[in-house]
Symmetry: C2
Subunit: 431 residues, 2 copies
C-alpha cells in the first residue's frame, strides 16, 4: 500500500512540499479551502485595483497537472486525530494520513479586540482584496455625491494600522491611487485631498530592516502624501474610524495590518505554541512527539538556535516545504535526512510606491529606484506561471506609463455592498 | 442657465449619447447602478473563466475623463416625474432634467415563472458572470469529491435554455471548458464526460440568421459535444434541474438565456409598451407625448416602418445614442434635426467556439474559421479602450495555444458560496 501524505494549505509552503514529492511513490493529497494558489506578495495590488485576481492566482489543479501522484481536494480542515492518524474536515468527513504536513499559514489578530474585526479590513485572501477594493472605490463614489464637508472628509480618510511591509505597501499605493489615478476623474471632490494615515506603534515603519532603510521608507511615504504616525497605539476601532493616542480620526476605511496570529494547528495537535499561536517545531520541522506530522511556514515557529524564530516570509515557507518534502521522500525510501533544516536568507525587500523600495541583502542595502527595479524583477520571476508573469508585466507597464489602473470595478456581489448602499443613502442630504 | 441632460444607463446606448454631447454647452449627468461600462458581447467569457472582469469593463469615469461637461453618478434610478421633470432615485434623492435619455436595457424574463429565477442563472452583469463561473467550477470540484454516480452525473450536467447568441456561446464554451481546459486536471472524475444540453423551443438555434447558418451552428455545437435539443419547451426549473418536454434532466447548473424583458421605463412614463415591455418610441426615438424624453437600445421598441421592431443589438443602441445626442445638441443650438433615426445594419455575427462562428453581412454569409476570425477582430476593435484590447488579445492568444483559462478562480464572497458549501457537505457520503 502506497503511503498517504496529506498536506494542508496551498500556499508557498504546501505547494513546495507537493512539488518536492513529485516523483515519490505515494498518494499526495493537497487540501485547501480555496481552489487556487495565491501569490500573496502582490495581493495589495489587487486590493488597490492595479491587478486582477486572475493575474496573481492560479488554480491549484493547473499547477499540479503534471504531478501525477497528487490529488487536489477543496475542503476546510478542522482538526487532527493523531492517534487514528486522520485529518478532520469541517463538513464531517475525514482523511487518513501516514504523513501530515500543516501549512495553514496565519491570520491577523486584533490583540484581543475581536469587536474591531467588524470595522477594520484585513488582507489575506482574494476575497479580502476584492472587499478592500470595493470599500476604497466606493468611498470616493460616495464622497462625490455628498454635500456635507465633514462627511466628505471622513469618506476621503483612509487609515492603515501597522507599519510592516503590507501596511506600507497599502498606504503608499492608496496615496498614489488618490493623487494620480483618480486625480482627474471626479467633478465635485478633489481626490488629491484624500488623507492617508499610517499608524505604527513602534518607532519605525519596516522596523525589521537595518540601518537607514526604515527612515528612508518613512520619508518616501511622506513624500507620497502619507501621514506617518509613529509611537502611538490605536486604542479603539469603531464604525466611524479609530482613536490613535489622544486623537480620534474619522475614516471610511480602516485597514488592519498589525500583529498576525497563526491558524489553530497547535490546538489540533495539543502541541506547544509560541506567543502568536504557531506550533513550536523541532529542527527537522516535525512537531515534537509526532514524528510523522510537520508544520511549516507561518503556522510554525522554528527556532534556528538563536532564540529568535524565523520570520513569517514566503522564502521560509518555501524552503521548509522543500525540506520536508525531501525528508518524507527519504523516509519512505528508507533513507535518513542527516541535516536539520537551515534557512538560507536571500535578503528581503519592501516596496513603498512607484520607483520607491528598500532592499536588504545582508552585505549591502539598496533604496529608491534601484531597489524598486530589483523588487519588480524578483516578483515577476517569482510568479509561478508564465501566464501570470506576462499579465502582471503588461499591467505594470500600462500603469507605469498611464498612471491608470485597470481593475477599478465595483461589483455588488458581496453582502457588504448592500450595507454600504443603505448607509450611503442615509448619509447623503436630500435636496 | 445651462440645460441639464440626464442619461440613465452606461451601456452602449448611454455612452454613445454622452459622447455625442461632448462639445455641447450643457450639464450632462450619466446615472448608472454600477461604476463601469461593460462590454456585454464578451461577458460569456468571464462566466466561463476565459477573461477577467477588468478585461471587459472600464470605470465610466475613466472613459468620460475628457468629457468635461459630463458627471458620473453611481445611483439606482427608480422613476420619473414627467410633470416636474425629475428623475427619482431608489434612495429617495431626485435629479432635475431638461432632457432625459433612458438607456436602461433589458433583463431576462422567465415567462411568468418567477419562481424559476432562484434555480436558473442569467447573464447580464459582471456579478452574474462571476456567479456563473463560481457555479460551473464548483460543480466540477464537488463532483471530484462525490462517491454517488448519480450525483456525479447531475453535477456534471449543464443546461443552457435558449438558443440565441448568448445561449450558443455559453453552451459551446462550457463544452470546450470540459473537453479541453479541465480534461487533465481531475483524478476521480472525467470532465470530458460532462453533459451539456442546449434547449431551444424553436426549430433552430440562432434562428435570426439566414440560410444554412443555423444548421451549421447546430452541427458545430454537436461536434463540440453539445446536446442540441430543438422544438421542445422547458416546462419546469427547480433545484434538481429541468423538465424538457417529457424528460427530466438533473443538472447542477441551469443557465437561462431565453426571452428578455425591457426594464420598467414604460411604467415610469405611463407610455405605451411593446409585448416585451419596451417603450414604443417615435421616429426620432422620443417617447410619444414627451418631446424631451428619449428611449434607446433594449429598453426602446423602434419600428423602422416594417412592423418589426429593431433587434436588441449593441449597434442599434450605439447608433440611437449617437442620433439622440446629436438631436439634443441641435435642439439646444436652436437647429432642427431633419431626418428620423435610421438603423444602418452592418451585419451580425455569433460565435460557437474555437474557430467556429457564423456571420451575416446581408450580401454574403461566412461560417467556420473565417467567420471566427472576423468575429475576433471585430470584437477586439470594438472594445472601448486600448488596455482592454491588449488584455483580451493576450488572454485569447494564451488560450489559443494552451487551451488554458486564466480565471479559474473560486472566490467565496457571494452569499451563494456558503449555500453551495452546505449543500455539498450533505451530498457527499461520509466515510
Amino acid at each position: 500500500m502506497r503511503p498517504k501524505i496529506v498536506i494542508v494549505g496551498a500556499g508557498f509552503g504546501g505547494m513546495a512540499t507537493v512539488n518536492a514529492l513529485k516523483h515519490v511513490d505515494a498518494d499526495v493529497v493537497l487540501v485547501d479551502r480555496t481552489n487556487h494558489h495565491l501569490f500573496q506578495p502582490l495581493l495589495y495590488q489587487v486590493a488597490t485595483a492595479a491587478l486582477s485576481p486572475a493575474d496573481i492566482a492560479t488554480a491549484s489543479r493547473v499547477l499540479l497537472r503534471r504531478n501525477r501522484n497528487a490529488t487536489v481536494m477543496m475542503a476546510d480542515a478542522a482538526g487532527v486525530d493523531t492517534t487514528a492518524q486522520i485529518l478532520q474536515l469541517a463538513d464531517g468527513r475525514t482523511l487518513h494520513y501516514d504523513y501530515l504536513v500543516l501549512a495553514t499559514g496565519a491570520a491577523y489578530s486584533f490583540f484581543g479586540h475581536d469587536e474591531w474585526a467588524g470595522h477594520a479590513k484585513v488582507l489575506k485572501s482574494l476575497d479580502d482584496a476584492l472587499s478592500i477594493r470595493d470599500k476604497l472605490l466606493r468611498a470616493f463614489e460616495r464622497a462625490e455625491q455628498c454635500d456635507d464637508p465633514a462627511e466628505v472628509a471622513r469618506l476621503l480618510t483612509f487609515v492603515v494600522v501597522g507599519g510592516g511591509p503590507t501596511g506600507v505597501e497599502l498606504a503608499g499605493t492608496i496615496a498614489e491611487l488618490a493623487r494620480t489615478t483618480l486625480a482627474r476623474d471626479f467633478r465635485h471632490i478633489d481626490p488629491q485631498s484624500a488623507r492617508i494615515v499610517l499608524c505604527e506603534a513602534g518607532k519605525h515603519v519596516l522596523g525589521a530592516f537595518p540601518g537607514e532603510l526604515p527612515d528612508y521608507a518613512s520619508g518616501a511615504l511622506r513624500s507620497l502624501g502619507v501621514e506617518v504616525r509613529l509611537g502611538e497605539a490605536v486604542t479603539l476601532v469603531d464604525a466611524d474610524g479609530i482613536v490613535l493616542g489622544p486623537e480620534r480620526i474619522n475614516a471610511a476605511v480602516v485597514l488592519w495590518c498589525a500583529g498576525t496570529q497563526a491558524r489553530p494547528a497547535a490546538n489540533w495537535l495539543g502541541a506547544e505554541a509560541a506567543r502568536n499561536g504557531a506550533v513550536k517545531v523541532a529542527e527537522d520541522c516535525s512537531v515534537p512527539g509526532h514524528g510523522n506530522i510537520f508544520a511549516i511556514g507561518d503556522v510554525a515557529s522554528f527556532d534556528p538556535g538563536t532564540g529568535r524564530p524565523l520570520p513569517g516570509l514566503a522564502p521560509v515557507a518555501k524552503q521548509q516545504g522543500k525540506y520536508v518534502g525531501r525528508l518524507i521522500a527519504n523516509r519512505i525510501a528508507g533513507r535518513k535526512t542527516p541535516l536539520p533544516f537551515r534557512y538560507r536568507d536571500l535578503g528581503s525587500m519592501a516596496v513603498i510606491g512607484r520607483s520607491r523600495a528598500i532592499a536588504d541583502f545582508g552585505r549591502f542595502q539598496l533604496k529608491g529606484f534601484l531597489a524598486w527595479l530589483a523588487w519588480s524583477m524578483v516578483h515577476l520571476m517569482l510568479l509561478v506561471d508564465f501566464r501570470s508573469r506576462l499579465m502582471v508585466y503588461m499591467n505594470w507597464s500600462w500603469a507605469w506609463f498611464t498612471y491608470g489602473r485597470g481593475a477599478r470595478l465595483l461589483t455588488g456581489h458581496d453582502d457588504h455592498g448592500t450595507a454600504v448602499k443603505d448607509e450611503a443613502s442615509s448619509e447623503i442630504e436630500k435636496p
